[in-house]
């Protein structure tokens, strides 16, 4: 498939070990499951909390009945006093109000009465109320294009821009006050006489209500405060605008009808009593709200940013500053937090308008069932769990307790679990990957070693070079190695059997030949008349040839024996060749020998064996030479070696036989060169044995000019 890429065992095993990486994923999934259970647990716990808190609030009509009579609430008419944290300076400057986002805008929709000339730009204001300590604070940011103060000498209070306040006292009295300033600055309200007609008759100044006013670019602002002890649950404000030159009021914009006690709007002041109860319950692991059935917050305890749920206390860990911990934080955590999210310590939760809590759980609670819900904070950084439980008074749902917690505790817990898990997995994976790598390396090394051994065991001619060392390891590769070794041994035995075949054959044949020979000779001696018999002579000739064949057949094995005992000595190879050639000139008078010997360095070897080698090469060359041809014998000095070459003219070699000619009993002789001498193809085999004894190489090739054959023997010089 991919010819250019063949993955080895090591690579494959590494690939397989890649599946290990699914373990952290499984762990991750598992931790997620755990988190789900923990969340369910947290939900249950929180439900328990709200139930407990609600239990403390059941059947306490005092806390609720003030508000209980209202049928419905209307935004703008019914006021909600936000708890004010920082003190407010009564100076008309609104910058110390923190909760201005809760201020409501009053304009054209809140007109109590108007003249025909009302334009929206004439009057509108923003207003909110809050409580701080024992006072109800209110501010009015009034947009008025024409401020008309009360003239210094006017007794009338309602013929200029003025603010009216109407409420009921805890005693149930309906009170109205009017603020009609002479100028910007400290304000003095006047109590108005209760009347059914819409007229303003000042009774007396009310010093318990204080206020201040300053002018602004767009109009003016008023801050005022009313002691909570004066107030019951109904409160209404109205601002009337006069424009210069008009004696009739342009417009009166109010939070609700200030003239009629029954039509007054309500004000809800968070109940300090409930708050005390909640605080008294000592719950600080959740933010708890108590709402009335109009979903207005009666009391609140705890800060959502500090409540991690019931788990928060358990996961505060000792700051461990060991080197490992530092390493973990510096190197591992950045990796982990690529896909983990750290629970935020700061997040924005602006979902709730404290004046009006909303949510599925609240709706459920107000219908009498406990409920819970999960939601994300607006910035999606934290998940908030909320649970609600109804508060009953006389089997009627009068409110609900809501508890909220973030899941930060669980998330921190989860993160810690995952950190540990990842670290463990990383370690395990690292260890197992390294282990697998080494294991694979070991296996592939062993297989490669076996392969090298197997390749080296048999040479290019199919001869067994070296045995395979059987591995003692008791596994499959060891088995393979052992069976290879065994196989090679058996092959070697067979090979040996084949190689010794000729010598054993000659040995076995010698006895019957001796029988024939002795019988013939005896016959010859016994019967004189047979001496001249041509048949007897032929039989003897045949026997001689048979005898010679047998001798040749055992020559190779005898040579191998003698190689074992051969002694090497230093001698002049050129001189040896010279002597040999002289002998050959006598032995083969019909052939011409050319010797060129250029080497003169002494050679360390066995001279008799080399002479025998030359005998074989020359005999071979002579046999294959054309008649009257010459045989060239060269001796060359090469760096580190000597090369003898014997070249003759004559028939060339078949291409496929060149390497095999040196094997035992291989011959390329054809019929027409079959001579007197029997041939078994052992000559070149013997030449090879002698060459190998001298650690040399022998090759037989066709001459470059293709006119004959050249044999080259390369003998390394011993250093």
């Amino acid at each position: 498939m991919f010819r250019w890429f063949r993955p080895g065992l090591r690579f494959k095993l590494l690939l397989i070990s890649g599946f290990l990486f699914s373990i952290p994923w499984l762990g991750y999934e598992y931790v997620w499951e755990m988190e789900k259970y923990l969340r369910a647990g947290q939900e249950k716990t929180l439900s328990g909390t709200v139930r407990a808190v609600a239990t403390a609030l059941h059947e306490r009509p005092k806390l609720f009945d003030v508000q209980a009579s209202y049928r419905s609430l209307e935004r703008g008419r019914d006021l909600y006093a936000y708890p004010i944290i920082d003190p407010i300076r009564l100076d008309g400057d609104l910058r110390d109000w923190r909760l201005k986002q809760h201020a409501l805008h009053y304009g054209i929709d809140n007109i109590l009465s108007q003249s025909a000339k009302y334009r929206p730009s004439t009057l509108s204001f923003k207003h909110m109320v809050g409580t701080y300590k024992d006072y109800l604070y209110a501010y009015f940011d009034v947009a008025d294009d024409d401020i008309v103060y009360r003239p210094e000498n006017s007794l009338l209070v309602d013929k200029n821009d003025h603010l009216q306040i109407a409420f009921t006292t805890p005693a149930g009295d309906f009170r109205r006050y009017l603020i009609s300033p002479y100028s910007a600055g400290w304000l003095t309200p006047y109590e108005m006489a209760p009347t059914d007609s819409e007229e303003n008759r000042p009774l007396r100044p009310e010093s318990r209500i204080q206020g201040s006013m300053i002018e602004t670019d767009t109009g003016y602002t008023i801050e005022l405060r009313i002691p909570l002890s004066l107030l019951s649950s109904k409160l209404s404000f109205a601002i009337t605008d006069f424009d210069t030159g008009n004696i009739e009021p342009m417009v009166t914009i109010s939070t609700s009808n200030i003239w009629n006690e029954d039509e007054l709007g309500t004000v809800l002041v968070p109940s300090p009593e409930i708050e005390q109860i909640i605080k008294g319950l000592g719950h600080s692991s959740s933010r708890i709200w108590v709402i009335d059935r109009y979903q207005r917050v009666l009391a609140k305890a705890g800060d959502i940013k500090n409540v991690d749920g019931a788990w928060s206390s358990t996961n505060s860990e000792d700051p461990d500053q060991s080197a490992w911990r530092r390493f973990e934080q510096k190197w591992l955590h950045p990796i982990y937090y690529q896909f983990l999210t750290r629970p935020p310590s700061d997040f924005i939760d602006t979902l709730y308008d404290a004046a009006n809590l909303e949510g599925k759980h609240i709706d459920q609670a107000l219908t009498g069932r406990s409920g819970s819900s999960w939601r994300l904070t607006e910035d999606s950084r934290a998940v908030i769990l909320a649970a609600a439980y109804p508060i009953y008074i006389d089997d009627q749902v009068m409110g609900a307790v809501i508890a909220e917690e973030t899941t930060n505790g669980i998330r921190t817990l989860r993160n810690q679990a995952l950190e540990k898990l990842f670290t463990m997995m990383l370690a395990v994976m690292l260890a197992s990957t390294v282990g697998i790598f080494f294991f694979a390396s070991r296996i592939s090394t062993r297989i490669r070693k076996l392969r090298d051994q197997a390749e080296g065991a048999i040479d290019s001619r199919g001869r067994i070079q070296a045995p395979i060392v059987a591995s003692p390891v008791q596994d499959e590769i060891g088995d393979l190695s052992r069976s290879f070794a065994d196989m090679l041994k058996r092959l070697g035995q067979y090979h040996n059997y084949l190689e010794n075949m000729s010598s054993r054959l000659s040995h076995e044949l010698r006895t019957p030949v001796a029988v024939v020979r002795s019988s013939l000779e005896t016959l010859d001696m016994e019967d004189e008349s047979l001496a001249d018999s041509v048949y007897l002579q032929r039989a003897k000739d045949g026997l001689d040839r048979l005898s010679k064949i047998l001798t040749n057949m055992s020559e190779a094995s005898r040579l191998e024996e003698s190689l074992l005992q051969a002694e090497k000595s230093e001698f002049d190879l050129a001189e040896l060749l010279e002597g040999c050639i002289q002998g050959y000139r006598m032995a083969y008078p019909q052939v011409q020998f050319d010797l060129r010997a250029t080497a003169s360095e002494p050679f360390d070897g066995a001279p008799e064996l080399l002479a025998q080698l030359m005998d074989k090469l020359i005999a071979n060359a002579v046999e294959f030479s054309a008649r009257d041809a010459s045989i060239q014998v060269n001796l060359e000095q090469r760096p580190g070696s000597l090369q003898i070459s014997v070249a003759n003219l004559g028939p060339t070699l078949p291409a496929d036989m060149q390497d095999r000619l040196f094997d035992s009993m291989v011959s390329v002789r054809t019929g027409h060169v079959q001579g007197q001498e029997p041939h078994l193809g052992l000559g070149l085999h013997i030449a090879r044995l002698i060459t190998e004894f001298h650690k040399g190489q022998i090759e037989i090739k066709n001459r470059e000019d293709a006119l004959g054959v050249v044999v080259r023997v390369k003998l390394p010089m011993n250093t």
Binding site: V513, A514, S518, R558, G583, E608, A611, M614
Partner: protein, 232 residues
């Protein structure tokens, strides 16, 4: 009284052929087919010459053992190994056992009978005084062909008949190169070239045992061997 020749050979055809030839030569022949029979026969009466095969029936080295026992019975009894085994190792072990010659079975009968008569001649000659005519002197080498004895610088060199004939062939024409064919002919053996080489090696060793300085047999590579007469 005719001489008695013992033939120990497990192959009946060869045994009987040789026995027939020996009898024709006028020898008294007793044949044995294994070591046990041979030992029983030798215990009764020692032959004058023994021809022993090495492998005897189930004993592959039976001939060697027989040779040892025989040598212990008589130190002078000529023993000839006649065997199909032609390896150097067997030859050397056979000769070390005290055999007088080691012949392979492809030797022709005339060659063998020549050796037998030569060995008998030597036995007889040892009993008679030396004849000068039969003596060849070549430097430090003195060869008494009648007694089949060789001395080098006065010391006797113990050569087999084959070796003796080779030395004779070389020394007779000292300074001339004798090729292997000539040596074979003279030594009345028919063997291959490497057997000649090992014969020459053994001869050198035997001479060197009695004189470490011995250096009279030269190898002329590709041609043959030459005896150089030393200055005695």
């Amino acid at each position: 009284m005719s001489r008695r020749v013992a033939i120990v050979e497990d192959e009946p055809a060869i045994r009987e052929n040789y026995a027939a030839v020996m009898r024709r030569q006028g020898y008294q022949v007793s044949t044995y087919k294994n070591r046990r029979e041979a030992m029983a026969g030798f215990a009764q009466q020692l032959p004058d010459l023994a021809i022993i095969d090495i492998g005897l029936e189930d004993e592959i080295d039976g001939g060697f053992l027989l040779c040892q026992s025989l040598r212990s019975l008589s130190t002078s009894l000529p023993i000839i190994f006649l065997t199909a085994r032609d390896s150097d190792l067997d030859t050397v072990s056979g000769l070390r056992m005290g055999a007088d010659d080691y012949l392979t079975k492809d030797i022709s009968i005339p060659h063998m009978t020549a050796r037998i008569s030569a060995l008998f001649r030597r036995m007889e000659a040892l009993k008679e005084p030396a004849e000068a005519a039969q003596t060849l002197i070549c430097g430090s080498l003195t060869m008494d062909m009648a007694r089949m004895q060789v001395t080098w610088k006065g010391k006797t060199v113990d050569l087999t008949v084959t070796e003796l004939w080779m030395v004779q062939a070389l020394a007779k024409h000292a300074g001339h190169v004798k090729n292997r064919q000539q040596l074979m002919r003279d030594a009345q053996v028919f063997v291959d070239d490497s057997t000649i080489t090992s014969h020459i090696k053994r001869i050198r060793k035997k001479f060197q045992q009695c004189d470490p300085e011995f250096n009279s047999i030269d190898t002329v590579y590709g041609m043959g061997y030459r005896w150089t007469q030393d200055k005695a």
